[in-house]
Structures are given as C-alpha cells and as structure tokens.
C-alpha cells in the first residue's frame, strides 16, 4: 500500500515516447456500447427470469402513513406480493450507511417509497401500483430555503470541506476598501438526470445477495446494502459493469437496490426494479438550491483586500451534508482578509446529495460572476483582475499549490478565443436580431485522492488482467486503466484486460468527486509496481536494472518474455494507494478558464450559446480523447446550469413540479453550437503517482458564469438568479 507522503519521483510512465498513456485512443468498451452489447443493470433478465418490481412513492412531503390498502393491488392480475412497511423485512435504521426502505410509517420526503408491487410483468406491476390507496396524516413541512435561511445552523465540517474559515479581519478590511462589491446570487435545485434510470436486479443464492445495480461505488455500496439488511458484507456482491451515467446520483445505494433485495427475498425469486424517470426526480436526491452572498473589497488597482463568500443550502433535518459552495473561494484568489462560511437549513425535501462538482459547480457561478462585476466597477479587464490577484500560495492554508496553471489557461484561452476583440461596453455588438456578447470565467476544482486497491495478474500467455471494484460511468476508466497497465509492462492494449464493477474485486474508491482515475489508477499503479518487482525477482534482477518493453523484461540487453516469467500458474500482485501528507502539504486543484459567446434575441430574450471554449490544466492527461470528452461534458452541464436547468419547488406540496425530462430542461444537441476544450501539459507529482488531477468536474466548475458574464456583455442585463431564462432578460431589453 503506497501512501502519498511525498512528491513522486520518476515513474515508469514518465519519458515514455512509445507509451500509450496520453494518446487519444478510442474507448476499449466502445464497440460494446455502439452495438448494444454493453449490459446495464436492468438487462440481465427478461420476462420469466425475474419478477418485476414497481415502487409507489409518497404523495406528501412530511407526515405519517395512516393506512395502506393493498387488497385490490394484491388481487390484480399477475401480482405476486405487495410490500409495505407492515410486511417488509426489518432493516437497520441506525447506522450511517444504512438506507432502509419501507421501514416505518413515517414520511420524510415527497416520493419516498411507501410500497413495492411485485408481479410477473412490468405492465402488471405498474397497473397494480395505481390500485394502492395510501392515506396520510400530513404535517406542515419547511421547504423554502429563503424562508428557512435565518434559522439555518452551522453544520459540522465535512470530510472534504470545512464549514467556516476566517483569516485576517474581513469586516474592517471590507469597510475600508475603496471599491466594494456586495451582491447575492441564487442557484436553483438541480437534478443529475443520468440517462440510465436507477435500476437493480437482485438475486438471492441462499444467504448471498447478488445485485446488478447502477452504482458508482461498489465497495461502499456493498457495505451499505449489508448494513441495511443486517447481513455480513461478504454476503453481498454488488456488480456494476456498466453504469449509464451517475453524476453523483449513484454514489450512494438508492431505493431501487434495497427494494429489489427485499422483494427478491420476500418472494424467493430474482426481482428487478427500475425507478421511472418521474420517480427519480424525488426518489434519488437532487442538488440543493443555494443562496450565496459574495462581498469583495478591492483597491483601485484591483488588488483584493477583503473577500467573503457565504452560502446557504438545505438538507433534510439531521442531515449534515451541506453544499460546499465556498470551497473554491478559499483558494482561488489572493487577499489577506477572508471570511468563507456555510450555513445549512433544515428542509423537508428529498435528500440533497452530491451532484457533479459539489461546491464549485454552483459556488463559482456566484464568485466568478462577482469577479466580472468587480472588473466592471474597476474598469478592468476580467483577466487582468484575476492576474492581479494570483496568489503565490494558498491564501488560507499558506501552503504551496501542488500545481497551478490558472493564468496560463486564461491566456491560452484568450488567444484561441479572440478575447482581445471583446468590447467591454455591454450591448455594442449586434448580429441581425441577436445581441452578441462574450464572457469568461475561471475554473477550479479541488483534487482528491481516496484509499483504493487493485490486483493484477500476469498469465503464462503474457496477458495481464487487472481487477478492482472501480466503475466506468462514462468516464473512460476501462480505457485509461488499460493504457496505464499496458505502459507499466510495455504491452499493447490488447494484452490487457481490465475488470471493474464488482465488489468482489479489491476495494476501490469508485467513481466520484473526480477522484476515480487518480484513486483507482494509483492503486492499480502500485499493484503493477509490485508485480514488476516480483517479475524482476523471478528474473533475478532488480527494478532499477530492468526495463519492460515489447512484452518482455530486458536486463543488460537480454530479454525474457513476460509470459515465461509468469510461469504456468501465472503471477499476481496486490497494490493500493492511500492519501498521505501531500494532502495537507499542498493545495491541490485542477484549473482552467472558460470563454463563451452568446446571442440574446433582442425581442424575446432567448439566450443561445454561439461558441464556447475551455482550456484546462489537470495534471497528466491519460487519454487525450476521453479527457476532452469529459471536459466538454462538464462544460455542457455548465451550460444547462446557466441557461435552462431548474427543478421548481411547489411549496404547497413540498415537491418538484417539473419532474420529467420534457420540463426539466437539460441541454439538447441544438443548444450546443461550437464548443471545444484543450489541456495544457502538466504533471502533478504531489497529487498521486500517476501525476494526474481530476478532470470530470473541472469542466463544469465556473462554466455557467462565463455565460452569465457574456449575457451581461451582450445586453447590459446582470442576472444573479440562475438559470438565465428569457423572462429574466426580457425586462432589461430595449423596447
């Protein structure tokens, strides 16, 4: 087990001109995905193999079930069983990991499953679900963040985010600052809306439960299911070979997995369940809305003297998870006097959970729009303002950055985008009916490393098989890990098999927080190093004298094929990574810059993105093709958060009104015109042995602010209430 206690020296992945790492290789699972052969959780059984479960969600947000009449449903054609809290197996309700379902008469949020219909077919189960009559004793709930804000509490620190940080004397410095900015920004409830609905197929083999489920993290997933069902973790196997997107909504075990397990146990037969798209909007959680006040005090030359970012978010009573929206503000710009706080309001809504770049995704919408507004006040170019406040070290932690190319990203982006052609005065550029503007913002996303392990095995056939309980949720894990293993042994891609998505494999961090490639990949790197060491031993040499290339181990000009070294029985090695002191000794972030050009219809206020560019530095790039895709995907998520995505609360019912994909508007193809992303070369030897940083989320972190700033440049209308729908623009447009 390798620990990141000091910068990594030279590695076998460095200076490898023949290497595969970094190359823009096609996804190795591509052919499976384009032919429909990649199997997702719901696709392992058909009619007759499994029974179908259909969940029924609560139609109140808070209260108690008074009665459930399941008689008609039970008599309905094809129905095998109806489960409710009255007959579902007892589960653990105490431990943090448990996610009990149907475990009491209490209703804590709208859409909470209150019944499960099990039938021979999907059609039968769905129809019967409508026959169930639930009566509730409804209690008044709190749903509105703006109303609950003043009673918000100071939650405990999160593992990855302190609640409050203060340094210097913000109040005094802000009061004394010659130029002040003080505005409040709001971001709405958002939904992950992964294309694959949460789905599970559960089978009991004696006391052992096997779930095919759409989950980002099989290792913790297994523990969570085991804890919930009060069985040993060894009795649970979580398989997630292909996951149809997650974006945070599949980090935790969700209702579908537990319900399927309960159902399968109850009827002694495999059960599969997919939550409907409409159910998902309540059943699996969302990103909380936020209210964010940003204050920046600056000297006339733009030097920040005081900066404060306060964010209010909501979650269920007793849930300490807050949206860490001020994270980036703590590290992005210099300034001696700082105050960055989170507050958390108790709301009786479904759980607020992590969604792509928790913290930065919405925090930078506020901070980076505020920076633009400050630049306007100062009469400064927005890039110059950021250059002025480039810190020499982390301004709060007072440690060096592990690597940081923010300015280089901005400069490269400005050059590629044609930033110098921008007219800083709003409303100056018109193209037919379109008012045209451009804007920019910085990107920053914290880099993480999590404990993770892996096993690699070299067979007599010279092939290497790697196993780890990691997932590929579209991130490219299968492909980039194959590249890493291939280079570690000097083998071609087709000699490597990477197996993921099975909790029976070595424990892995899973996919989340942009730490997947770094954590899973570093554990794998360590296992490969250990296997290299074993092979050197077999060859009677030491690692410093050996070279792995072309499927062989070279020592002093002599080579031995790897398969031969492996011997008949093959040879295998374990490895792992865990974070060490570099986590504290360095501030670690991925950086980038966004540039956006929008057109705003001068009559209707419709905002259309015309072009957008992202330039990033995120350490070593493992695969230039999949990395670019990740960056583009993040940026387009950012476009959605800027322009269209809003889950609307109806506070009479405590539910989200627009709970489908017709009315929750994620971007479609036509919303994305010219868009591109580039990476600057970088190696981060403090982050992990692969010298990579996270890039699944940096693409969204700040992206929407560039669009908001472009809308201001186009129209002179400054909107601080995301998303920027046309009704908010309309009032400010000329008649």
């Amino acid at each position: 087990m390798m620990k990141m206690d000091k910068p990594v020296g030279a590695t076998p992945l460095d200076d490898n001109p023949k290497g595969l790492v970094g190359k823009p290789l096609d996804r190795i699972d591509g052919p499976l995905k384009v032919t429909g052969k990649a199997k997702y959780a719901y696709e392992y059984e058909q009619v007759g193999d499994a029974s179908y479960g259909f969940a029924v969600g609560a139609t109140i947000a808070k209260g108690r079930i008074v009665s459930i009449d399941t008689a008609s449903a039970e008599r309905a054609p094809g129905v095998i069983r109806v489960l409710t809290y009255r007959n579902a197996a007892p589960q653990d309700t105490k431990s943090r990991e448990a996610v009990p379902q149907l475990s009491g008469d209490g209703v804590k949020y709208y859409g909470q499953p209150v019944a499960l219909v099990l039938a021979h077919t999907y059609e039968q189960a769905r129809a019967a679900s409508y026959l169930i009559v639930v009566r509730y004793a409804e209690e008044k709930g709190a749903f509105r963040l703006d109303e609950a804000k003043d009673d918000a509490r100071t939650p405990p620190d999160l593992p990855y985010a302190k609640t409050d940080t203060d340094s210097g004397d913000f109040a005094a410095a802000f009061a004394a600052a010659p130029v002040k900015h003080d505005e409040t920004y709001t971001t709405p409830f958002q939904e992950h809306a992964a294309m694959e609905p949460h789905a599970t197929s559960a089978t009991w083999q004696g006391d052992k439960l096997i779930v095919e489920t759409s989950n980002q993290m099989p290792t913790p997933g297994r523990k969570s299911i085991a804890a919930t069902l009060k069985i040993p973790p060894e009795s649970v196997r979580v398989k997630s070979a292909f996951v149809g997107g997650g974006f945070g909504s599949k980090l935790d075990v969700q209702a579908d997995a537990i319900l399927a397990a309960l159902g399968a146990k109850a009827i002694g037969k495999p059960v599969k369940i997919a939550l409907t798209r409409q159910q998902l909007f309540h059943a699996v959680g969302h990103r909380t809305n936020t209210i964010q006040r940003v204050r920046i005090g600056a000297a006339k030359d733009g030097t920040i003297q005081a900066i404060a970012h306060e964010s209010w978010s909501g979650n269920q009573p007793g849930n300490d998870e807050f949206e860490p929206a001020v994270l980036a503000t703590r590290s992005l710009y210099a300034g001696a006097n700082r105050m960055n706080h989170h507050r958390l309001a108790a709301l009786d809504l479904p759980p607020a959970i992590s969604m792509r770049a928790p913290g930065e995704a919405v925090g930078l919408l506020a901070l980076e729009e505020a920076m633009d507004e400050l630049a306007v006040k100062l009469g400064m170019d927005p890039i110059a303002l950021r250059e002025r406040n480039e810190p020499k070290e982390d301004p709060e932690l007072h440690v060096p950055y592990s690597s940081r190319k923010l300015l280089e990203c901005m400069r490269e982006g400005a050059k590629r985008f044609g930033w110098d052609k921008r007219d800083a005065t709003p409303g100056k550029v018109q193209d037919g009916r379109w008012l045209v503007g451009i804007g920019m913002s910085a990107a920053s996303r914290g880099n993480m490393l999590m404990k993770s392990s892996a096993k690699v095995r070299l067979g007599a056939d010279g092939r290497v098989t790697a196993r780890l309980a990691m997932t590929d949720i579209g991130t490219g894990s299968y492909t980039v890990f194959t590249q890493v293993v291939a280079d570690m042994f000097g083998l071609p891609m087709d000699k490597i098999t990477v197996l993921l998505g099975d909790s029976d494999f070595p424990d892995s961090a899973g996919s989340g927080g942009s730490f997947g490639a770094a954590s899973g990949g570093s554990g794998l790197y360590d296992a490969c190093m250990n296997l290299r060491g074993k092979l050197c031993q077999v060859a009677g040499t030491t690692a410093d004298k050996a070279r792995f290339a072309d499927g062989a181990l070279f020592v002093d000009g002599k080579s031995r094929p790897l398969g031969e070294l492996a011997g008949e029985g093959g040879i295998e090695a374990d490895g792992g990574i865990e974070p060490g002191s570099t986590k504290k000794d360095y501030a670690q972030h991925s950086y980038g810059a966004f540039f956006a050009e929008v057109g705003v219809d001068r009559d209707t206020g419709e905002i259309r993105l015309r072009r957008m560019l992202g330039v990033f530095a995120a350490g070593r790039i493992l695969n230039a093709k999949t990395a670019r895709s990740q960056a583009l995907g993040g940026m387009i998520f950012g476009v959605g958060s800027a322009l269209t995505e809003e889950l609307v609360l109806d506070d009479r019912y405590g539910y989200f009104v627009n709970h489908d994909l017709a009315e929750y508007h994620v971007p479609v193809n036509a919303d994305i015109q010219n868009m591109d992303a580039f990476f600057l070369p970088e190696l981060d030897d403090k982050a992990n042995p692969l010298k990579i940083k996270g890039l699944g989320e940096v693409g969204i972190s700040g992206a929407g602010a560039a669009i908001a700033n472009a809308v201001y440049n186009a129209t002179g209308v400054r909107i601080r209430d995301y998303p920027l729908t046309l009704d908010k623009v309309l009032a400010g447009l000329p008649t």
């Binding site: 591509g30 429909g36 054609p77 077919t121 809306a193 579209g474 995907g633 971007p667």
Partner: protein, 218 residues
C-alpha cells in the same frame, strides 16, 4: 408460480433464446421463433389481455404473445431479449429508445408492440448487418460520440435514419430555404439530433461522428 415452474421456466427461456441466436447466426432466411410457448400461465391471468404479434427484428422473425400494454420497447427488451434499445424516460422525452421501424426512426417507448404487427424493425443490434460495425457505429467510436453509452443506441439509430431523411429531402426547422433540398451541415445535424438527449453531453463528438459517417465537411 409453483416452485417447479421456477426451476423450469428460465431453462426453457434460455433454450428459446439460444435457438434464436443460432438461427440468426446461420442466417436462415425467414426463420421464426415463437415466444408464445414461453408464456407461463401467470401472464394470462384474468384481466390481462394478450395479443399475438409478429415482428421482424433485424431480419429475424419473432412471434410474441404479449399483453396489449407492452410497448415496442419493452417487447424488444423484456420479451425478445434485445436490450440494446434503452429506456431512459419511457415518455418520448429523451430518445434513448429510438429504433427504426419500416425505415423510419421512432421512439419505441411511445408505441405499442401490437401496433407494429407484421412490421420490420432495426435496432442498434442490427445496424451493422453482417459487419462488425456500421460506418456510423465506427464513427461514434472514433470520435468518442458517447461516454456512459446509455443514450448511444438511440443516437445511432436516430443518426442512421436521420441521414436517410436528409437524403429524402426532408427539411428541418433550421433549413433556411424550406423549398430547397436540404444540405447536411453541423447546424442541421444538431437540430435533427435534438430528440436524443445525452446527459454526458457528447454532443460535439456526436456531431463530428455523424459528419464523418456522412462524409460532410461543413
């Protein structure tokens, strides 16, 4: 269902499915697989209306005895075992279920299997014919036109049929001159592909892949 049924049922299903695969692999023209035999009595419980429907899927004939409520999508996924076509929303709001019926792309989730009796359907599993990959599938791989892969079968069926629509001269709302024969451009592709949501947001790569497959530079 009795316990003996539980043991026998899956085995019987496996047999049926494997015979279908053999038939497809050996290219027996017009070979048919009857799924009616696999219908356990429980699926004919009182109140469940079933109808026989014959579908030709990727050249293979299938006769199903299905509940009238079964959508074309669920017939493919849950009855025939062709799970390539995806259910993303089940309401025509995402396009993941797109298949090509009688030459036209439609949302398989918003149509009943019984409505397509006697019709020919091409799903993602059939796009390549006897080849490993169709040009469109290969272009998607080359341009990384997907990430998680869940919307991909729908994107591919949609893109394949969309090009035929353009060839047939069908305009789109972004065609500047409605009366003119449309020419494929990036803008036309984006509009015409907007019925296929990709939350991973591979749109730029999807457009590049389609341009490549169609041999378009614009």
């Amino acid at each position: 269902m009795s316990s003996s049924d539980e043991r026998i049922f899956p085995a019987r299903r496996d047999f049926l499915r494997s015979s279908a695969m053999v038939a497809a692999a050996t290219g027996i023209a017009g070979s048919a697989v009857a799924y009616g035999a696999a219908n356990a009595p429980d699926r004919h419980a009182p109140g469940t209306r079933t109808t026989q429907v014959r579908l030709t899927v990727n050249g293979q004939s299938h006769t199903l005895d299905v509940d009238t409520r079964v959508t074309l999508l669920d017939a493919l996924r849950e009855h025939i075992g062709l799970t390539g076509s995806k259910k993303g929303c089940d309401h025509g709001q995402c396009g993941a279920c797109t298949v090509i019926v009688e030459g036209r792309r439609i949302n398989a989730c918003l149509t009943l299997a019984v409505m397509h009796d006697g019709e020919s359907i091409v799903t993602v599993e059939g796009l390549a014919g006897n080849a490993a990959l169709s040009p469109m599938q290969a272009a998607f791989v080359r341009h990384d036109g997907f990430q998680c892969g869940y919307c991909t079968p729908g994107q591919l069926c949609s893109a394949t049929a969309m090009l035929e629509e353009v060839r047939a001269g069908m305009p789109s709302v972004v065609s500047a001159d409605l009366a003119a024969t449309p020419t494929l451009s990036a803008g036309e592709i984006r509009e015409r592909m907007s019925g296929n949501i990709c939350r991973c947001s591979a749109y730029p790569n999807i457009v590049a892949a389609i341009k490549d497959a169609a041999g378009v530079d614009a």
